[in-house]
């Protein structure tokens, strides 16, 4: 009797188990193949299907979780070429003078916006010696795997006054308008805007203690051609803000005469922060608007452009500089501009119609 029961259970298991195994096997081999060729697949999804996703690195490089450790060295080598990533450790040891400069370079190493952002902060704000030879160090084949770990805690030390400013919680409501050019390029434009603002918020939170809250996203009915950045800015400024404190206009048009955006920048002593900005697409970047948003928001909080190629902030690729930076370089802001933003972060935003176009800043990058 027992034997019959065992046989029945066995048959039952076979009956249901075999199909399950087949299905699992099919799915599993799909997962394995997908993981193996994820670079090609994600490239296809991005370039042909127009999905707004991050393209995975080729198999065996950086992102491969399971093989990270084994392939860490290989990964580094190619990455180094692209960006001033890995200088940190080696340089520090060798030349104490250069610690500052190289460190900056290091931080901005990899793709993940939030992680990397913090890294660049390490650079001692005030030390940055002008003559520090910039990112040639990058070339060094130092086998450091860009560690995501240091990202979080590595925030530039601030003096007491700025530290207390950092601790002041500020939440800024943002309304984003998106023009047709961007909508054509990003079918999932609402998600795109959410991601962009979320990344910018994460970076601003770490650098300034400012959180950006996306209040609304809307279509921006402006011609896709023929309007200058100044005209676009005036148009954005004239739009109702609803519950938001500032309005950002994101456009899909590429850099216009190297202008990545335009924003109202308040005077150092001005009572209000700026409240409207236009951000152009930077096609060479993974997220075309994040760096532009960081830059223009910086202007709204009083940060200034860095145009002098000899300035340390320029050399290190501050997001307020005009310096060309590697697409994957982590966002970093120079200490001077960071102090400006921290000082003004809780100022009220200019009421609608109160900003004159005069104090705008164009931002070539």
């Amino acid at each position: 009797m027992n034997w019959n029961r065992v046989k029945a259970v066995g048959k039952l298991l076979l009956l249901f188990g075999t199909p399950l195994l087949v299905v699992l096997g099919l799915f599993g081999s799909g997962v394995y193949v997908g993981n193996l060729y994820r670079h090609g697949i994600t490239s296809f999804e991005k370039e042909w299907l127009g999905l707004d996703i991050e393209v995975a690195p080729p198999h065996g490089s950086e992102g491969d979780a399971s093989k990270k450790d084994d392939t860490a060295k290989k990964d580094d080598a190619p990455e180094k070429d692209d960006a001033p990533e890995k200088d940190e450790a080696p340089k520090k040891d060798d030349t104490p003078e250069k610690d500052d400069a190289p460190e900056k370079d290091d931080a901005p190493e990899k793709d993940d916006a939030p992680k990397k952002d913090v890294a660049p902060e390490q650079h001692p704000a005030k030390d940055t010696p002008a003559p520090t030879p910039q990112p040639p160090a990058v070339v060094e084949p130092t086998p450091e795997p860009a560690p995501p770990a240091p990202v979080e805690p590595q925030v530039d030390p601030l003096d007491d006054a700025l530290t207390s400013r950092m601790g002041v919680p500020v939440t800024v409501g943002v309304k984003v308008l998106v023009d047709d050019a961007l909508i054509e390029q990003h079918a999932d434009w609402i998600d795109y805007v959410q991601r962009t603002v979320s990344q910018a918020s994460s970076i601003y939170d770490k650098q300034f203690g400012v959180t950006l809250e996306l209040v609304s996203v809307g279509r921006w009915g402006v011609p896709t051609e023929g309007m200058s950045s100044g005209e676009l800015l005036e148009d954005v400024e004239s739009r109702p803000r609803e519950a938001a404190q500032l309005v950002l206009g994101l456009t899909g048009r590429p850099l216009d005469d190297r202008t990545s955006g335009k924003a109202f920048t308040p005077d150092a002593e001005g009572p209000y922060n700026g409240s409207a900005a236009v951000v152009y697409a930077q096609k060479q970047r993974r997220n075309e608007h994040v760096r532009g948003v960081l830059h223009e928001l910086g202007h709204l909080f009083g940060a200034l452009d860095i145009t002098d190629p000899a300035a340390p902030g320029y050399k290190s690729g501050s997001w307020m500089s005009y310096a060309p930076v590697a697409p994957d370089q982590a966002p970093w802001i120079d200490p001077e501009n960071r102090a400006r933003v921290l000082a003004r972060k809780d100022k009220p935003f200019a009421p609608q119609g109160s900003m004159s176009p005069a104090p705008t800043q164009e931002s070539p990058q």
């Binding site: 099919l26 799915f27 081999s29 799909g30 394995y32 997908g34 993981n35 992102g63 491969d64 399971s66």
Partner: protein, 73 residues
């Protein structure tokens, strides 16, 4: 009781032959549909779903599990 006209013998034969032709066509199509298209879609769907999961969620536990199993071979 009904007044339905009774089909003639010729008419019945004609109908029968045309039914056979249709039946052949239908059976071939249904064979292709039943044995090729449908199973192919199901199998392709399951495999393709796995590919998408593996490519887009390479850090998830399920991907790691299947990759680990795959690497055993």
């Amino acid at each position: 009781m009904s007044d339905k006209p009774v089909p003639t013998k010729d008419a019945l034969e004609k109908k029968k032959s045309s039914d056979e032709g249709e039946g052949e066509g239908k059976s071939r199509a249904s064979w292709v549909l039943g044995w090729i298209v449908l199973p192919g879609s199901v199998i392709g769907g399951i495999f393709g779903g796995g590919v998408l999961v593996g490519a887009n969620f390479h850090d998830s536990w399920i991907t790691r599990a299947f990759v680990w199993i795959g690497e055993l071979f």
